[in-house]
C-alpha cells in the first residue's frame, strides 16, 4: 500500500470520527472521568513516581531475562497441571486453539476480555469452526452485538452512547428495554448467566503470568472472568509472551499500578490468581487448563534495542485517556487492533509492513502518554523513531523528502535563509498579501493550514535584519 493511501485512509477515518458527535461526546466524557480518577488515586497512594520507577524496573528486568522467566513459568505451570503451548504466529495460535476445541468437542465458548484474541482473530476462527462464541465482558459483548471491534484497551465500548446500547440490547431481547443502567445491565447479566451455564469452554487473556508459581493473574471488574474460568470444564488462556512477572511480589506492584492507571481503582474488583486446573478434592475450577503463549512478532520487538521497552506495556489504557488525538477521534479511527499512543507504536512494530506504520503521524508529540504511563515507556520518543524508520523506508514520499532536503540546506545556511526569507516576504507582500487562497492552490501544505487557520502576515523585516548589538 502506498503511503498516500495510508494517510488518506487515516484522514478519512478520523474525519468520520470528528463528524460523529455521539462518539466524541462519549469518548471525551469517559476519558476525562478515567484520567481524573487516575490522578486522584495515584496522588492519594503517594510516591507515584517511585512506583512508576519500580514498575519500569520490573518490566525491564523481566524483558531482559524473558527466556529464563518464560521457561520457569512453563515448567511451574506444567507442574501444576496445565498444558503449555507456544505459538510463533497468529495462525499457529489459532491452530492450537482449534485443536483444543476439537479435542474437547466444545461448541459453546465464553470469553472474558482479551485484546490479544482480537489481535489473533480468534473469534472469527472459532466461528469458522462452527463454534458459538460469546464475549462476557459487558463492553466487549456490546461491541460483539454491534459487530464492531473494541475501541479502547480496557473499555471496548467507550464510543457507544447509552441509547445505542439500548437499541442493541432490544434487538437481542426482542422487545423494549428501559434505558436506565439497572435495566440494561440486568438484561446483560441474565443473558450472560445463561451462556456461562451452558458453555463447554472458557477463553481468557492474561494480565500477568507469574514465573515463580506458574500462575495466571486476571484483573476484572465484572466477575465474568471468574465465571469463564470456573464454570466450563475447560479453560484456555491465551497470553502474549511478554505478560510475565518473575514473582508474586512483582505481581503486587502491578496490582497497584494497573488498576490505578486504568480506572483510578485502588484494586481491581476481582483479582484471580490461578495456578493449574482443579485439583483433587477442589470444588470448582476447570478440569483442563491450556495456556497458549503467543509470539506473533514479539520476539522481533524483544530483539530491537530501540523498542524493546514497548513490550513492558501493561495495557492499562492510561495513554489513551490523556491523548489529545485519541480524545477527538476514538479508537476505531486508528484502524488497528490497538489504538491510541500505544497502538500507534505497537501496531507497526507487530506488523512492520502493515498499514499501521502511518499511525506514527497520528500524534502531536505532546508527551502526555509518557507522563501517564505507569511503566514509563517514552512513547513520544518512539513515535519519532518510527517516523524515522518510515522515512528510511521511503514512506514519506519524494516531495516530503525533497522538502526536508531543501530545509536541511537552507536552514543550515544563515545566508540562504536570510535571502530566501527576504524573497518570500517580498513575493507574499507584493503578490499574495491577504490572499492565502492564492498560495493554497500551489502548496498543499499551505492549503492544509489555511483550511482551518489564518496565516500570519509576514513582517516588514526579519529580526536578523534589524537587530542592533549592545545593551540598550
Amino acid at each position: 500500500m502506498q503511503p498516500d493511501v495510508r494517510r488518506e485512509d487515516l484522514r478519512a477515518r478520523s474525519t468520520a470520527a470528528l463528524n460523529d458527535g455521539f462518539l466524541r461526546g462519549a469518548v471525551g466524557f469517559t476519558v476525562d472521568r478515567l484520567s481524573a480518577a487516575k490522578a486522584r488515586s495515584s496522588d492519594a497512594f503517594g510516591n507515584w513516581e517511585a512506583w512508576r520507577e519500580r514498575g519500569l524496573e520490573i518490566r525491564a528486568h523481566t524483558l531482559a531475562n524473558l527466556d529464563f522467566y518464560l521457561a520457569q513459568f512453563a515448567n511451574r505451570a506444567s507442574e501444576a497441571g496445565a498444558r503449555v503451548h507456544f505459538a510463533k504466529t497468529a495462525a499457529e495460535a489459532r491452530r492450537i486453539l482449534l485443536e483444543i476445541v476439537r479435542e474437547k468437542s466444545a461448541r459453546r465458548i465464553v470469553k472474558s476480555k482479551s485484546m490479544l484474541t482480537e489481535e489473533l482473530g480468534v473469534n472469527a476462527a472459532l466461528a469458522g469452526a462452527g463454534c458459538q462464541v460469546v464475549e462476557t465482558d459487558l463492553g466487549e459483548w456490546i461491541v460483539q452485538l454491534a459487530q464492531e471491534a473494541p475501541s479502547h484497551l480496557i473499555l471496548p465500548a467507550i464510543h457507544k452512547p447509552r441509547h445505542h446500547i439500548q437499541t442493541l440490547f432490544e434487538a437481542e431481547a426482542g422487545g423494549k428495554l428501559a434505558p436506565d443502567t439497572a435495566t440494561l445491565a440486568g438484561f446483560a447479566r441474565q443473558r450472560l448467566r445463561r451462556e456461562f451455564e451452558r458453555a463447554d469452554l472458557g477463553i481468557t487473556g492474561c494480565n500477568f503470568a507469574v514465573a515463580e508459581t506458574g500462575s495466571i493473574a486476571l484483573f476484572t471488574n465484572e466477575g465474568n472472568g471468574r465465571m469463564v474460568t470456573t464454570l466450563p470444564q475447560a479453560h484456555v488462556v491465551i497470553m502474549g509472551m511478554e505478560r510475565i512477572v518473575p514473582t508474586l511480589a512483582d505481581l503486587d506492584v502491578m496490582a497497584n499500578l494497573l488498576p490505578r492507571s486504568a480506572t483510578g481503582q485502588k484494586l481491581t474488583t476481582y483479582l484471580n490468581v490461578m495456578t493449574g486446573p482443579r485439583r483433587t478434592g477442589e470444588l470448582d475450577g476447570p478440569r483442563d487448563l491450556d495456556v497458549i503463549v503467543v509470539d506473533n512478532g514479539r520476539s522481533r520487538i524483544l530483539g530491537d534495542p530501540e523498542f524493546r521497552d514497548v513490550l513492558g506495556c501493561i495495557r492499562c489504557g492510561a495513554c489513551l485517556n490523556v491523548c489529545p488525538v485519541y480524545r477527538q477521534i476514538g479508537g476505531h479511527a486508528y484502524g488497528s487492533v490497538y489504538g491510541g499512543p500505544i497502538g500507534a507504536v505497537l501496531s507497526p512494530l507487530l506488523e512492520p509492513s502493515g498499514p499501521a506504520t502511518e499511525l506514527a503521524n497520528a500524534s502531536t508529540l505532546c508527551g502526555a502518554c509518557f507522563e501517564a504511563c505507569p511503566v514509563k515507556i517514552p512513547l513520544h520518543d518512539h513515535l519519532v523513531q518510527l517516523r524515522r524508520r518510515n522515512v528510511a523506508a521511503g514512506q514519506g514520499g519524494v516531495a516530503e523528502a525533497l522538502s526536508f532536503r531543501i530545509f536541511g540546506h537552507v536552514f543550515s545556511s544563515p545566508r540562504w535563509f536570510g535571502l530566501l526569507g527576504r524573497a518570500f516576504r517580498f513575493v507574499r507582500r507584493r503578490l499574495g498579501r491577504n490572499r492565502s487562497d492564492y498560495w493554497a492552490r500551489f502548496v498543499p501544505a499551505f492549503a492544509a493550514w489555511t483550511k482551518y487557520r489564518a496565516v500570519p502576515e509576514p513582517p516588514e523585516r526579519a529580526f536578523r535584519d534589524s537587530f542592533e548589538e549592545g545593551s540598550q
Binding site: 484522514r11 478520523s14 474525519t15 470528528l18 489529545p324 488525538v325 480524545r327 477527538q328 477521534i329 506514527a360 503521524n361 497520528a362 500524534s363 502531536t364 508529540l365 505532546c366 508527551g367 502526555a368 509518557f370 507522563e371 520518543d381 519519532v384 518510527l386 517516523r387 524515522r388 524508520r389 522515512v391 528510511a392 514519506g396 523528502a401 526536508f404 530545509f407 536541511g408 540546506h409 536552514f411 543550515s412 545556511s413 544563515p414 535563509f417 526569507g421 516576504r425 501544505a445 492544509a448 493550514w449 483550511k451 482551518y452 487557520r453 489564518a454 500570519p456 509576514p458 513582517p459 523585516r461 526579519a462 529580526f463 536578523r464 534589524s466 537587530f467 548589538e469 549592545g470 545593551s471
Partner: protein, 245 residues
Amino acid sequence: MKVALFATCLVDQMFPAVAESTARVLRRHGCELSFPPGQVCCGQPAFNSGYFDDARRVAASLLAALEGVDYVVTPSGSCAAMIHHHYRRLFEGDVARSAAAQRLAERSYEFSQFMINVLGVERLDGSFPHAVTFHPSCHGARLLGARQEPLTLLRAVPDLELRPLERADDCCGFGGTFSIKLPAISAAIADEKLRHVTDTGARYLVGTDLGCLMHLSGRLQRRGVAVEALHIAQLIDRAQASGAS
C-alpha cells in the same frame, strides 16, 4: 551578563516583534545582548518528522553558531527542549558534536526559566491591567520542565489578573507537521483548547512557544474570536513599556 539570543527560525522570519520584546526585556534586566548571526534553527521540524540527517545538518550549524557564548536564551520552550533532550540522540556517535551539544544544553534557557532561575526576577516593573490566561506548551512544560516559571513570571507583573485555564496541560493540537498532515484533528484539538480559553473571559492568551501560538491565534482569527495571543515576553514588554507602576 552576556546573553546570546537564539530567536528561532519562526520568530526571526515571521514574528520578529517577539524577539524584539525578548531583547528589550532582557536588556531592562541588565543583560548585554548579542545575536550570533550564524544561527537559524534548532532542526526540530526535520527531527520530529523523522528526517534525522537533514535535522543534523541544521542542528550542527546551530551548534557552531552558538559555540562559546555564556548564555543562550530563546523565546521557545520547544526549541530549548530540542537542544536539551534530542541533540543527544541526534549526535550519538559524534564525540565532538555530542560534547558541543552538551555544552550548549548547559548554557541554554527558555526565556521564562532564564528570567526566574538565572536572573532571579521576583518583581517586574510596569503594569498590565488585564485578564490573562496561560497555556503551558507541552514541550516547554513536559520535556523542559518549565511548569512554574512562566506562572511565577506572570504573577510578578503588576495589575495582571491571571485566570486559571481549564485542562491547561492539554495539547493545543499544533504538533509541528501534524498540523498539516492531519489538519482536521489538529483544529478539533485547538477548538477544545480555545473553548476553555474563552470560558476564562480573558482578553489575552499567553504562551511560551510561537508554534502553538501561531496555530491558536490563526484559529482564533479564523473563527473571529476576540482574544489576542501573546508571547510571555511580549506581555512583559508591554507592561514595562506602559511605565505606570
